[in-house]
Symmetry: C2
Subunit: 255 residues, 2 copies
């Protein structure tokens, strides 16, 4: 992928939509610098403990991603009602996804033409997950066009960015019934495959776990090169893969 | 990926450059129809037993791929000497790769502009492997620009097409010292990951094994849905991956 102007290195983010909650993991190759709400560069947490947890992970053009995060934090005016809505005031996750989508469309109206003139693709994708008190927990994938899809029990994971290396293990092992701790393992294994095969996706990675109906973040952790648990996973996974392929009997095809 | 005019569905081809020989595997989602040398749609074998084995696997625009295969078979005139060279007369694998590269450039000169006018990308990539009597066995990746790279002991595999799903296992397990039968397993596992994660890459697949210094094809086999060995690999690999991730201890991060 080209290095877009206002751009970012390649990203990999994955979100699991599980019976017991959400597991979200993002790499951090680009150091996006400071913005006014986030402690993590590609993972943005909007939390009012006891009332709402909304987490956004972003991929694509960094200028667009940051504009989206800033605008949903500061508020977007509804042109009809004049009402200013923010990610902290939306009444549901569905409305939160709409807010993000509308914001992307606004940015496209403002910046799209100028970007095109510079041959820069208007490229952004966002995984948005969370829950508001009294409402259903949800996980969305929002596209550059501002439209979105939702994870379901049948399709319990969403990925953005450099998603292919880490997809095979999710295809095979991720189900809606997967336990949260297993979900953490799966996301880390999926990230490990991506890190190994694509040098533009980089450590550290940011992990977040949300437990359904808790309305607060259960765990948030930055995992670097030296994290003993991730190190152990990387070693064991590599050796397990090698062992698994060695254990397959050879074909009797006369070679 | 878009459906190019004169195009093909997505492809996945992989070639291993091993101490003992070459293992080459191609999917066959597009039925390219008949051309005058090939028994396989994406794998083209040019063999004079005892003298030369050259195998080409193609990805990208099908019209270009077929034009390349036809032209290297029928011969390309050297504009300076008037000499007509074919894939059956080239004196070395390096010259074979140059012939393919030059042919791609010729096709670009003829068709490139018209394709661009139709908004069709000039997209072709070819894995070319083999050996001529008295010469070194080689494996090349030839690009749309006609330039190419060569597999080495350090980088013993080359992939074209939808390469990402199947790369993690190769990154971890493929070495130049891998035995031919293990190479077959690795290629089939890599293909299985691709088939599972991307529905546009399809069965059957075409497998070819060449043993170094033999100057004839050791094995060529079309593997379909019902092939018992491939079926066994697919089942074992899936269950091995699931088992491996389950065997990883859970993190003690208080989730």
């Amino acid at each position: 992928m080209r290095d877009w102007s206002g751009g970012t290195a390649m990203t990999y983010c994955v979100g699991l939509y599980l019976e017991d909650g959400l597991v979200m993991l993002a790499d951090t190759r680009t150091n996006a610098g400071v913005d006014n709400i986030a402690t993590f560069s590609k993972m943005h947490v909007f939390e009012k403990p006891g009332e709402r947890v909304i987490v956004a992970m972003t991929a694509g053009n960094l200028a667009i991603s940051q504009a989206v995060v800033n605008m949903i934090t500061e508020g977007v005016e509804d042109p009809e009602t004049g009402h200013i809505e923010t990610i902290y005031t939306v009444p549901s996750m569905f409305r939160a996804a709409q807010l993000v989508g509308d914001t992307i469309r606004k940015i496209y109206k403002t910046d799209g033409e100028a970007m095109q003139a510079q041959n820069v693709r208007f490229d952004v994708s966002i995984i948005l997950g969370g829950q508001l008190k009294g409402r259903t927990m949800r996980l969305f994938h929002i596209y550059s066009a501002g439209n979105f899809i939702q994870a379901t029990a049948d399709t319990p994971f969403l990925q953005i960015g450099e998603n292919k290396y880490g997809k095979p293990i999710l295809d095979r092992a991720a189900t809606h019934q997967t336990a949260l701790t297993d979900g953490i393992k799966l996301c880390l294994v999926s990230m490990d495959s991506t890190l190994r095969s694509n040098l533009t996706v980089g450590l550290p990675v940011d992990l977040l776990v949300y437990k359904k109906d808790s309305f607060q973040v259960a765990m948030q952790r930055r995992i670097g090169e030296d994290d003993p648990y991730f190190k152990m996973i990387r070693q064991r996974w590599s050796s397990a893969l090698r062992k698994a392929y060695r254990a397959i009997p050879a074909p009797d095809w006369g070679v």
